[in-house]
């Protein structure tokens, strides 16, 4: 579903954000992307979703290169950023309608999926209110709902659990599992290693823009905890 082939990103000021990264995320995978602050996680994620350009190498989503057809790639991806900055002047439902319009979601689908996920995440009663009234967690929930409305094939999440209450975190994890069972794939960064350990079947550790470990969770962990592996690689 997602392939990074020798992907590198160099910023215009010469700073290397990511260097020679190769990863493979298959259908049904929940792939954890972990690393210390400033390691290059967000840089890589932003290239996958088409925000950052690719300096070298390529990113292939569902067989399509982002270099060849970024719009087609974007139409099958849903991105949830680390900071849910959304349009304050809109109401929750107006934001969902805007995103649905962009992805050309039918009225029936947007109604069905919005109702489903907003009820699960406990945001339905707030959708008619302006986003400026929302807390960080509520914004995060709104972004999650809007990202699922167009039935993406690949979910790319950057620190998705920050600001969510325990119940919402549980619901999001269940949604992620269900999403992968139905043939989707998830690529997400997190600092909560316990969650990554329990939820993911694959993991990659990035440090200074380079992948230092990558593989199935069992291969990487062996008989240690993910936290111990992470600390060893960051000594």
């Amino acid at each position: 579903m997602l392939k990074l082939i020798n992907y590198s990103k160099v910023y215009p000021n010469g700073k290397v954000g990511a260097s020679n990264i190769s990863l493979n995320v298959k259908k049904g995978d929940i792939f954890a992307f972990i690393g210390p602050n400033g390691a290059g996680k967000t840089t890589t994620i932003k290239s996958i979703v088409g925000i950052n350009d690719v300096t070298e190498g390529d990113i292939i989503v569902d067989g399509i290169s982002i270099k060849d057809d970024a719009m087609k790639v974007k139409s099958i991806i849903a991105y949830i950023p680390d900071n849910p900055d959304v349009y304050d002047t809109l109401t929750g439902i107006q934001y969902i309608n805007l995103i649905s319009d962009i992805y050309k979601v039918s009225k029936k689908d947007r109604e069905e999926l919005t109702n489903k996920y907003s009820e699960l995440l406990g945001l339905k009663d707030e959708l008619n209110n302006p986003i400026s009234n929302y807390s960080h967690g509520m914004r995060q929930k709104l972004v999650i709902i809007a990202s699922l409305v167009h039935r993406p094939k690949l979910l790319v999440l950057d620190e998705p659990f920050v600001g969510l209450d325990p119940k919402a975190s549980y619901v999001v994890k269940e949604i992620m599992k269900e999403f992968c069972k139905q043939g989707g794939a998830i690529f997400f960064s997190t600092h909560v290693l316990e969650v990554a350990e329990k939820l993911c079947n694959k993991v990659a550790i990035i440090k200074n823009g380079k992948i230092v470990k990558s593989g199935s969770m069992a291969e990487i962990k062996k008989d240690k905890s993910l936290e111990e592996v992470f600390l060893e690689t960051n000594k």
């Binding site: 974007k74 900055d85 349009y87 002047t89 805007l98 319009d101 400026s132 009234n133």
Partner: protein, 518 residues
Amino acid sequence: MKNLNILLKNNINCFLGSIQGKRARKRTYLIVSLCILFYIGICTIYGFQVLALFKTMGELGLGEIPLFNSYQIVLMLLILFAFQSLNGKAKTQDSDLLLSMPIKKIDIVISKTISKYLFLLLIISMIILPTTILYCIFVEISANIIFWNLFLLVFLPLFSIGISYCVDFVVSKLFNKLKHANVIKAVLVILLFGAFFAVYMYNSSIMGFQTSDTIEKFLSSNFIVGWCVKLIVDNNLLCLLYISLLVLFLFILGMIAYSYIYGKSYLSYNIKSDTLKFSKGGLFDGMLNKELKKYFDTPIYMINTIIGPMLLVILTIFLCVKNDMDFSVIFGQENVTQNFFSVVILVYLFMASMTMSSACSISLEGKSLWILRSTPSNTKKILLAKSLVNMILFIPVHLITAIIILLVFHGGQFEWIMFILLPLILNIVISFMGTYINLLLPKLKWDSEVQVVKNSASILVTMLFGIIIAMFPIILNLFGVNIYMCGWITLAFYLILAIISVLLLFIDGKNRFNKLDC
């Protein structure tokens, strides 16, 4: 007191940090030098503008008139700035942090007030200082004149701050709970400013007819500005009392009100409803709706960019009501009847160049830009929607008011073509070019919309560009080209510019949008 010093130092550091950007010292020197040049430039331009008035009125012994003119502008600026800072948000970005520290709330409020005060002082000094110097040269020099002018310079900013804080209080406590609070706020401000501008235009139109017999009545009929002039010229202590009472009352009331609301959260309207409205539209409709909603829900954005169309409406009403008067008083030009349409079209061109909501539309995306960049949105449609908002603001008002003026003043075929087409095409150029300039000079990291709508480089460059192309027919005329040729050459020039701006935006601008850092 110690805390107040720390906070003031912090405000200065934050200000310097914001102008330094990433290129530290070199850039700071450049920007500070540019600011000083700008300050001197505005003082000089204003000085030259009132010079003729001082010469004429000084000879007639009516030195009060140029003073009145300057203080009228000062008052208008103070009111404009009082309402421009209006947002109804009692929380600033740093309010939680500051309130959590062992600092008295009043110290925080005073430090913020001092920063605001210094800014206003700088702004009105660009009007009051040249006025004082010219008054001393052409009318009369005395210690009293200088003292009262300086007194008003340091005292009047408190008036603006008082109004601004009182309005913030009212908005936070009452308005924000209403569903269309921002639209109501902006409309009220526009109406108020419109009314003030109408008074200004009326005063300007009758100012030149004053004589030594009528000047006293004229000044008495204009409360605040009249009081200022009488205080300076006549040492009228009763006027000093009136001004002091008004300004101090508003300032103290404002400080109490702002201290009360500072740091508190006032949420907007709340609806508990299960009924969700799912509406399906195209990408372009969705983008345009989003842009229009952003426009009408951001008072500072709306107030800053709707002045052009608003002035057109006021001007049209004024011209139609006063269609029998001698317009040379307003336009300051001889044989104005023959050149009436040329002058009005020029005014329209300047208004068209002032309406430039698109020049900050990209920057206003701010931290939300990731939404457009990560979704399969057609960049051309996004840029078109952003540019179109500016045209929606100006073109309908332009067409309606221009047709009214053309009908009332019996415009000929040439006037119809020029009056309809020139401002329309100029606005199209500004709309597309504004978006393109914003893509060249984006400012995506900001704390308040004011930084983007008022203080960003793209706004200044677009404004400069607009003024230069609006002046194009004047430049042609200065080179001896007759009015008819001026019109046709300008029309051709604007058409070429419109084509260039569209091509620039949809070819280079599209690529730039897709490379924006978010």
